[in-house]
Symmetry: C2
Subunit: 142 residues, 2 copies
DNA sequence: CTTACTGCAAATATTTTGCATTTGG
DNA sequence: CCAAATGCAAAATATTTGCAGTAAG
């Protein structure tokens, strides 16, 4: 049980949807695990601390593959910035400070009431796992 | 009180922050009022049903100006799509269907509990007005 | 008048795609 | 082996910017 069996899960999840296990996908997945809330650009940089370098286009394709395998999800925390995180670490909401940009996490359960209300009133099945809430964090409040 | 004095409010809000009142800004603002949740691209198209045509770059600049004047706000409902709405019509959340893309609105008050909880547990002042919730709408559920 | 705004076109930034080559299963 | 994935470079998309002319105040 060296490193929580993550490598094995990655292989299994990819194969389960008919995708291959490649070095590129392993490296991108490892980078996401190391750096939650990272953008594709940031992940490219992070991944390329090691060689051989992986071009941005391949990072994008790896992200698609990982997402298709259900290993990662992405959220749009701000403008041009999809951020990726591991699916098994996704049960939280993102509190994005409009002031300093800090991203805090909160357990998804705080939104249970809201989810129930939306299901009730609109028949809408909300996935709060993908939710970003903007506002002002404790540190940036007067 | 013909049309709720909107034209006057626009002029006043722009001037209040030292911006000028121009035909471009009036037309873009009118388009937003007519079509909530529209992207810059959609607004450009809508605005250009009348002539003279306004180029995209000017629409972007008008949106910036209107936002700076506090007349409109924008939200990111999905990938490359900031959507604009009038600030005085913004007290709602956006329920975005991942299936069909439909955007439903729900009064912001349904999130009151959540807002209170986040303030309580994280000292985070959430602005649910800018919140998009992804999921599946009633029509797209089995 | 004076400075901000606009239109146009070119520049940026970001993500996607075609295709020959490599590699996983 | 065969199909899928990669690397590279070029294309597509979205947004920003420089500048000279126009118009708001």
């Amino acid at each position: 049980m060296s490193s929580s069996g993550t490598g094995t899960e990655l292989a299994a999840s990819l194969r389960a949807v008919g995708l291959r296990v490649t070095a590129t996908r392993e490296r991108v997945y490892a980078a996401i695990a190391r750096s939650p809330h990272a953008t594709p650009e940031a992940l490219t940089e992070l991944v390329n601390l090691d060689e051989p370098a992986i071009p941005p286009s391949s990072v994008y394709r790896a992200l698609d593959a990982l997402e298709e395998a259900g290993l990662v999800t992405h959220t749009h925390l701000d403008h041009h910035a999809p951020t990726y995180h591991r699916a098994d670490h996704a049960q939280h909401l993102h509190l994005v400070c409009r002031e300093c940009g800090a991203v805090t996490e909160s357990p998804a359960s705080v939104a249970d009431d809201l989810v129930a209300t939306l299901a009730d009133r609109h028949g809408f099945a909300a996935d709060v796992t993908h939710m970003a809430i903007h506002g002002r964090c404790a540190a940036c409040r007067p």
